[in-house]
Symmetry: D2
Subunit: 396 residues, 4 copies
């Protein structure tokens, strides 16, 4: 049973799109199911589009709605700034908020470039020293109980020494060459395409599960559909909408594939695409160690497959329903076998952030960890531009 205590934590959320909705729900719900040391208050919602922001604000009970993030992040009556904008605004908002002494939660990927990410990380470090602020990047898949359970197993050494990581993030919403242009396909807004949007998740998940960074990569990027029709009116999610005759250039990758070497020596094979017809959200990772393996597919997000080579009895991958009270986050929810959904990852993220703000545990991933993801993305792009040559990830 959730219980909130301690001081109020006044939240400003910037971004009133799909992510803003997921975060709004999380801020409102976390304290209803989890014991929190602070009481989050949905203080200010910021959106560029007033009508849309008003609707979201009313839907979740935001106390106030604004269209000016600069004003909001500086206000005294705000404690946390939660950034859900496209990537090109992350750095500016985050740095402003940190300089104003706010705790920051920033959606992934941290930035559109390593330079921005470095600036943000430096700002976070300075703010932490100055005022103890917490900065965290929103790789919310870390909060999927099945993956968090995998992390526990790996951290406990249950898989032995890891040799293989194979991660795929397969979607199919761009298969149709006439699916319209969106900001996610514009390098200026999104930094990269599939790579930064979903490939970044795989990179973060893999490095986190192994507790080891990627050291070098050999990569290929591919854009299968180089132009797409201009979207004149946004309707709904996923790029659906009304379309006119003109086409714009897609300036990002549709697919990314790379091999990787982790610091521990493990060999990684990564693939991300939005062209995998029939795969809706197959965020998959499998890890093989000397003593066991784990495998996960987000299309069955409540399950973890676990192979324990040391277990007695007939050997096989166990289909673990990660819904037991002893599994991460799950004691707050429903009886065993009753699954949870996508938004729960965001709720758990809020729980962990609020606890970190209260000094209970570390904010994870920190901006520094997210910067490491950014550096891997950068190395991938450099390798792809250099005939797939083995390319080192920049060190700190």
């Amino acid at each position: 049973m959730g219980a909130q205590s301690g001081p109020v934590l006044r939240v400003a959320l910037v971004g009133a799109g799909f992510m803003g909705r997921a975060h709004s729900h999380a801020w409102r719900t976390a304290g209803s199911f989890f014991d929190l040391p602070r009481r989050p208050e949905l203080a200010v919602l910021v959106g560029r589009d007033r009508e849309r922001a008003d609707a979201l604000g009313a839907g979740f009970g935001w106390r106030e709605v604004s269209t000016d993030w600069r004003d909001v992040v500086a206000r005294d009556d705000v404690d946390v700034v939660d950034i859900c904008t496209p990537g090109d605004l992350h750095a500016e908002i985050a740095v402003a908020a940190l300089e104003a002494g706010k705790h920051v939660l920033c959606e992934k990927p941290l930035a559109n470039s390593v330079e921005e990410a470095e600036t943000m990380t430096a700002a976070a470090a300075a703010a932490a020293r100055r005022s103890g602020t917490v900065a965290m990047c929103g790789f919310s898949y870390r909060r999927t109980p099945a993956l968090a359970l995998a992390r526990e197993l790996l951290a406990a050494g249950a898989l032995g020494e890891v040799r293989h990581v194979r991660a795929q993030y397969l979607q199919d919403w761009l298969v149709d060459p006439d699916a319209p242009m969106t900001w996610r396909l514009d390098a200026a807004k999104a930094g990269s395409g599939t790579l930064g949007d979903i490939g970044a998740h795989s990179i973060d998940t893999a490095q986190w599960l192994l507790g080891s960074p990627i050291r070098d990569v050999s990569a290929v990027l591919r854009t299968f559909v180089p132009t797409r029709p201009t979207l004149t009116e946004q309707v709904g999610l996923g790029g659906r909408g009304r379309v006119e005759g003109e086409r714009e250039a897609v300036t990002v990758d549709d697919a990314a594939a790379f091999t990787a070497r982790f610091a521990t020596g493990a060999l990684g094979v990564f693939e991300a695409t939005r062209m995998a017809t029939g795969r809706r959200n197959a965020n998959r990772i499998e890890i093989n160690g000397t003593l066991g393996s784990v495998a996960f597919d987000y299309e069955r997000s409540n399950e973890l497959e676990v192979y324990d080579a040391t277990a007695p009895g007939p050997a096989g991958f166990r289909r673990v329903l990660a819904t037991e009270p002893e599994h991460p986050y799950m004691s707050a929810w429903w009886p065993t076998g009753h699954g949870i959904g996508y938004e729960h990852g965001f709720t758990h993220q809020v729980v962990d952030l609020v606890r970190a703000i209260a000094g209970q545990g570390e904010a994870s991933p920190s901006f520094a960890e997210a910067l490491q993801v950014q550096r891997v993305l950068d190395a991938v792009q450099r390798s792809a531009a250099d005939e797939s040559r083995l390319t080192s990830v920049a060190l700190d």
Copy 2:
């Protein structure tokens, strides 16, 4: 994007246990994601245990907390009474609320006996005539998108004539003979055991999917563990808790199995148990028609298996992720492939109820439909007591 409009709908919720929590969340969340013609207000929460009720009330922002349901259901400033108590209180509360002109949502099974269910159904009919009140029973699995999709396929005739229904509801939380006694194992409180608790879900789901009632049954009930330790202090869900040396008699079934004939002639095979080691919440149903089949397992609640014998190409069961915008309820949630969880069924139930109250669609299942489930439960018990002999379900 959810939007609430029209008059406020003031809700009183009776029951501060696990179900009370699920319903609280649903009442608060429905309008944030769905367009509702009324604005639900979490007005009064009623619980016998003041401390527990206060905690739940605070957790979800209930305006008021009470320990006296009699007082609350008669109040002028309450529009809907939502009943989440054990089954032995359903009839009394529902009838009082209906007589006071309130809309009623009552958890399943509708009652502990056919007689009670008949009384409630008569009260609902009278109230509907008198004041247009809506009464609905909470078989929330109807609101699982995958099952609602199955219903659409069946209603459209996509499966042809149905021949087979095979439904299993398998749990395992009572495997341990020393799992403690709870009210769910006491016939006086719960009416029946596994049969009414989870078997009732299978019966409702099957009758609803087929659009056809069960006409007769041949049944067996079984209690594998006849006594259980007394629970002296409740801790957490699922009967976990501190245990003393004494044991009490279990007065309900641990497992139920029966064959059934539907009005259409379809043959049903049903099984419900809490003794299926390793099956946490395997609420399964498969339906075979002359043109196709569907299969569902709640342990993978976002999936529906669909077999279409008329489809071109290689034949096989399709694993349908019921997460597309065109699937029931799903346009309100996340991008395709991002699943939802257990509590969403309750949220959808609130959506449908609120719409029914506003005259948009029927409340389903009505008390009359839930009474039919009760009559099947009764026929199952009578058959089991009569050497499994074929026993007719009472007609209206």
Copy 3:
């Protein structure tokens, strides 16, 4: 590596249909992969249709082909009679062969009636006493490695006390009401329909896995399609063929469902049908005990799902590929992970029979065990004819 030694074992096979082919392959192949204490020789193949028998005889190298089983089973140069005819001939051939001192392998179900099965069992017992002949019934699914592994687990007590058996045998080759009439749908030839053809497998498998007989049943039988077109010329398997205008009465069941109580107290739920659209050969069984469970589906015949409630680590059903050298029968075949097929069950059956003939182990199932299956079939039919009333299986 297979090696055959010891005296030659001269085999006469009666029946040149689909089963005759499977058995021919088995007799020829067993010694190539397994060490056998006798050297099977494909001596005489008997078929009513000379052309068909000649073709099968040539295809597998039978030394001789005959159309007269009476003559063959009495010959001095025959040691084993393998009966693959429709059920109405089993008793006559088996008794003749046993009286002539031959070892007998008889396809399942043992007979078309309890009376025949009793006669056969008595003949087998007399022949065993008289001349040490071995008699065995061909429930070949016992020789599926995954099921044999399940048997090992159950025999070792790994599942604890068994509470639940749920067995389904689902096929769909009769879904079409215009699929033609065959001998399998004629009670005079086949005894019963789905019940005896595939339901018998489930009964044998369940009793064998539990090591406990079924004591009473409550059953329903159903014929969904009461007449079918006359087949004027057989072409291929599965009832395919040319069809004329006339229709004949189907005199057997299309589907059978029953609950059962085992001697140990376990509760069984059985269903068999050829009307489960989309299920080609889903011979499924799940067993839940106090310490664990196993689940099997012949559509994935190389796998066994195993749940061990006592295992350390996260709990879940293990998908065991029953292809390890330490699994039953598998050291004779391919490297781990390389599955085997349907005919291997027959090959393993020959291996076990030849070993039993040489005094290495028991022939299993004996005619007495197969008679017990027949008695369950009979009780199912009697219960179905008596309003599903609980009906005892006859005792020896």
Copy 4:
């Protein structure tokens, strides 16, 4: 029903190990189930180890056993030479047999180097011109019905334009660093390690399914366990055996990973390893086209997952049991839903080869196709040695 007609085809098989056994079974079995235009005769088995060869010869009824392949391939009474030796002997035996005018079936990979493969391909071409001999390489997975069905779908354009190929071949029999040394880990014998042994299968399967060659690759190879104990006495398959204290150098790769570009522009991601703990024989391939996808895993070798984006009704991957009479090779076997096993691929290979010899269809893969696989293997090794740089596959 199989039927053999036409002239006898006298087969000499070189190699009495695991592969020799699989091929022996195939030569004996093909004509029993399939109609063949030639009658294969198991004429001569050649093995270096006389005792082992004698045992295999007796087990499958080889007319003659020899230890001298040079003598055998030149004999007048041999029509086909089937080569099942380690890769270092392929070229010499194949060239000798071809020059003697024999048809040749050679196990994969075709050779240990591109040079050898080129020599063999030239010899095959010359022999074909000279005497119409047929030469075929034994990529037997092409004969798995589920994969052959995938090939039919792709050839018919059912998947549209292919964008993605993702192929993994995962085994785990070398996870243990103390699993002993075998010839498969010796570059001099085996050419390469995992890459040539199982990665070659993935390459062949992918190129064959797409009908398009790989043009360039970027690769990494890895040896996780650089030394292994010397095996002093071979016992059983899979490298099991008695082990002494000394260790030898492993001179091949344990794992290979590479990205690839097909001539059509499709992007491939390949991974092969014997270190994927828990994966016994996961030979997987998934192909995504603009109109659909297929996915396969040899651990469930009787299934093909098919996604058809153009199909009506709810969308999802279909689990197709590739056991229907209309599926490749399956009309010869059992009723639908009754799977087949590993050795059937070899039986089908014999069927196709015998038909090609009789002028019915092409031998596939030809030596030229197998040479293309060899060239890809070579490009992979060159890229891996050159910092994973994009490396072109040599053209003809």
